[in-house]
């Protein structure tokens, strides 16, 4: 029990230290700007905690969480999936098109739309996976290019002459509406509408943890991420594992934004946000690839962003929140490294205690 507590302590100390550091950093900036740090934080906290905002934050958390888990899977394989952005937008777009073109009973329509997103995300990511494994092309480069290609593809296909429609009251292009059978109900809570897709996100988190930590497949994945050569020598088809991991990361990226599509917009338009890749990567980093850690990080992120506009109303630039996020990411990286070094030194001391001699009463008679 004691060991577990100390493990938890060392797992939590890094993000807490990072957040503290960032608060101090932002406080200094605020003071330079002539604003009182404490009351500013108070403002963010109380506005973010208002009930109607909490629901908006939770809905945003779902998308951030899935992007974070998608990034975390990649990280376990030392893959930097910056293609989450393109994977998610293309996936949601095609899912919306498929949903708009079909009208099956709900128990078929919903899985069809969700599955389409998963498959499209996986396929799009596997292009980068294939290039990485077969042609040794960095997944960062190929994914950045694939993001751009995805954008172009979506705009091309969204033209009214192809798959898209022009909105009635606006120039905004969108896919045809998904019929009611493809709508996912929201949960009425705290006077707001919480996407029930939250349950899918929780399921993904559980699945992520169980598969990675308990299954042979997860062991092979982590082993390949830790040491390609050792995994290969142990009989793992390491290149195939890299390919599969990239596809898996894309599959989960394909679920990002699904809650919004199924419970809110019911159509894909260019209003869907971009930039989930960077957010996802940051959250995986902050949450240390841990499914619960990422959940907290995602909520924290959504909370900050939801609360940011109140600052402008009080004459404080809302970009303060971005500075906070940025400094948290930077200091997280640093503090994890420090914690890693401390714990490693602790272990080495423990090993030293059994590996080093403990006999002191050795006779020195045999000295030549």
């Amino acid at each position: 029990m004691n060991k577990k507590l100390s493990k938890l302590f060392w797992a939590l100390i890094a993000p807490i230290a990072a957040i503290l550091f960032s608060l101090i950093f932002v406080s200094i900036i605020l003071m330079i700007k002539g604003a009182a740090p404490l009351s500013t934080f108070q403002l963010i906290l109380s506005y973010g905690a208002e009930s109607e905002n909490i629901i908006a934050e939770l809905n945003q958390t779902i998308a951030y969480y899935l992007a974070g888990v998608a990034a975390a899977i990649g990280f376990r394989m030392l893959l930097f999936n910056i293609g989450i952005d393109g994977q998610y937008r293309l996936a949601i777009f095609i899912a919306a098109v498929v949903g708009g073109a079909t009208n099956l009973p709900t128990f078929l329509e919903l899985p069809l739309i969700i599955l389409t997103g998963v498959v499209v995300g996986a396929l799009w990511a596997s292009i980068a996976g294939y290039l990485k494994v077969k042609r040794n092309i960095s997944e960062v480069i190929s994914n950045i290019m694939l993001n751009t290609i995805a954008s172009g593809l979506i705009i091309y296909l969204l033209q009214p002459s192809r798959l898209g429609l022009k909105g009635k009251n606006s120039d905004n292009l969108a896919t045809p509406m998904i019929p009611k059978s493809g709508w996912m109900p929201s949960i009425h809570i705290l006077g707001g509408e919480l996407y029930s897709f939250a349950f899918v996100a929780i399921g993904v988190g559980v699945l992520y943890w169980v598969v990675l930590n308990k299954s042979v497949f997860g062991f092979n994945l982590r082993a390949t991420g830790m040491s390609f050569r050792a995994a290969r020598a142990s009989g793992v088809n390491a290149p195939r594992m890299i390919f599969i991991t990239m596809a898996l990361s894309g599959a989960i990226a394909g679920l990002t934004g699904m809650g919004e599509l199924l419970s809110s917009t019911h159509t894909y338009s260019l209003a869907f946000p971009t930039g989930y890749a960077l957010t996802g990567l940051a959250l995986a980093l902050l949450g240390r690839n841990n499914p619960i850690g990422i959940a907290f990080a995602a909520f924290f992120w959504a909370f900050l962003e939801q609360a940011a506009p109140i600052l402008d109303l009080n004459g404080i630039p809302k970009e303060i929140v971005m500075m906070m996020q940025g400094s948290i990411i930077l200091s997280t990286v640093a503090s994890y490294e420090i914690v890693k070094r401390i714990t490693r030194r602790q272990q080495q001391r423990l090993v030293g205690a059994v590996d080093a001699p403990q006999v002191v009463t050795e006779a020195k008679g045999d000295k030549a």
Binding site: K214, V216, R229, R344, R349, Q358, E362, K367, A368
Partner: protein, 504 residues
């Protein structure tokens, strides 16, 4: 007598552990003074004390006749002590010159690095001591031996007169060791003093003027090579008589665990690297594979494991044709693999020991039941290995990278032997481990042979080959050039065969 260093009554305690006590050493100027001992005997702590990285609790250090107080490596460097670490600390994408001056750049006009002066000084060092490096080469282009010479030059550039070399030969191949020894002789002839840390008795006997043996944190013997022999040194090191391995006189069995017939293999560039290999290993047999490193040993291992497919001929490993079976299938059929580069190929360094126990056995019982990892089995079997192979670790939760090299290797050997494999491929199984660990590893290889395991023992250690092998195959430039019987062959004949000479 002219003493470069005199250590008296050095003691260092860590919480709960005595790392050094009653250490007395006298090192003469111009000597190569070897300090030997098992892993954990206290050599490293002592060197850290001398280099100012650790402060002793008591005792005195006298350098060149003057009592010294060394509080930091800077003090130590100021006293003319330099340390060449086992793992090189060089910037790959900088030149030799840049690496050497880094951190102690000669400055002119207060701001500019005086490269011309540095270059002249380094060139002088290189020519004086015959170091054979070129100042303008990129470090990334250099081999291991050259990198080590850069490290030595770096220390000399800082004015060191006493050099500490921490296991300098661990990373070198035999020819490079010879070159290093030539350099060391050159250095001492020019009046420098060298402290040579090692646990390789052969080398110590060859190179040292004086040998201090450490055990359990203290100095137990000081001898000259002329007055001792390897057996006696080993006994000082382990504090008792060394068990000498003996092959039981059981005959290898009829069935074969490996059949390689006329196999050729090409490397990635399409060049043929293995030519017409014929190699059989029977159950219950240890086949030694002798050869100078780089003559096709690693390619042969990859061929046997199915990582490389034969271009012609056939390879049947534990009854599976490697053209059809992948490595997973071959390993699950019962092949243990002790890789030469244990940290890269044998371990997940950032994972705990119990997870490392699973590695290689992740898809077979009892480590897994098809889909799921069996953590309980992995933990309890790690405990078994830790006990049976004397792996010094507080628990199976410790990360692999916290263990010393010898203990890592014992754990790997234990893992690869579990489940009574049909065949074990052991590549340099005792390289870089101390004599205690070596004895344990040898014992277990012999025991595996008794149980009917076929062993391919790839080794550059002739002693090991002679002690363990039933037969010795000699590989030279990608071909098996000879089969020798260790009972009727002399080391000289084997050495000759390794260079491609046919024994009449």
């Amino acid at each position: 007598m002219n003493l470069a260093i005199e250590l008296k009554g050095i003691e260092k305690n860590y919480p709960g552990v005595v790392a050094n006590h009653d250490v007395d050493i006298q090192i003469h100027k111009g000597d190569i003074h070897a300090i030997i001992g098992e892993n954990g005997a206290g050599k490293s702590t002592l060197m850290k004390i001398l280099y100012g990285m650790v402060k002793p609790d008591s005792g005195s250090i006298t350098i060149n006749g003057e009592l010294a107080s060394i509080k930091s490596p800077q003090d130590s460097i100021g006293l003319g002590i330099g340390m060449v670490h086992q793992h090189f600390m060089l910037a790959d994408n900088a030149t030799v010159l840049e690496n050497i001056v880094l951190g102690s750049e000669p400055i002119k006009a207060k701001v500019v690095v005086d490269y011309a002066a540095a270059r002249a000084k380094i060139e002088k060092i290189i020519s004086t001591y015959g170091l054979d490096i070129h100042v303008d080469d990129l470090v990334s282009d250099l081999g291991v031996g050259e990198r080590q010479r850069v490290e030595i030059a770096k220390v000399l550039f800082r004015g060191a007169e006493i050099l500490i070399l921490d296991e300098p030969t661990a990373v070198l191949v035999p020819q490079e060791v010879d070159d290093l020894f030539k350099n060391l002789k050159e250095l001492t002839q020019n009046g420098l003093t060298i402290i040579f840390i090692s646990h390789k008795l052969d080398e110590v006997m060859t190179i040292a003027d004086n040998i201090t043996v450490m055990r359990h944190g203290t100095t137990v013997a000081e001898v000259k090579p002329a007055n001792t022999n390897k057996k006696q040194l080993a006994e000082y090191m382990i504090g008792g008589e060394l068990p000498s391995p003996r092959l039981a006189s059981t005959k290898p069995r009829e069935e074969k665990v490996l059949e390689v017939k006329d196999a050729t293999a090409k490397d990635r560039t399409g060049r043929e690297i293995l030519h017409g290999i014929n190699l059989d290993i029977h159950a219950g047999e240890i086949l030694g594979l002798a050869g100078v490193e780089g003559n096709g040993q690693s390619e042969l291992i990859e061929l046997i494991m199915g990582l490389v497919k034969p271009d012609s001929g056939s390879v049947v490993t534990v009854g599976l044709d490697t053209k059809e079976a992948d490595l997973r299938k071959i390993r699950d059929e019962g092949v243990g693999y002790i890789p030469q580069d244990r940290q890269r190929d044998g371990l997940l360094m950032a994972a705990p020991l119990w997870e490392n126990r699973i590695l290689g056995h992740q898809e077979t019982a009892p480590m897994s039941n098809g889909m799921w990892i069996n953590k309980g089995a992995a933990k309890s079997d790690s405990e078994r290995i830790i006990k049976e192979f004397d792996v010094r670790t507080p628990s199976n939760d410790v990360l692999a990278n916290a263990l010393s090299g010898g203990n890592q290797q014992k754990f790997i050997v234990g893992r690869e032997m579990s489940g009574d494999p049909k065949m074990i491929i052991a590549a340099q199984p005792t390289r870089g481990v101390d004599v205690g660990a070596q004895a344990i590893i040898w014992d277990h290889l012999i025991e595996a042979r008794l149980k009917g395991t076929g062993v391919l023992l790839v080794s550059a250690d002739l002693d090991e080959l002679f002690k363990l092998s039933d037969r010795i195959a000699v590989i030279f430039r990608g071909s098996i050039v000879d089969y020798l019987d260790p009972r009727t062959t002399t080391p000289e004949q084997l050495g000759l065969a390794m260079t491609g000479e046919k024994i009449a």
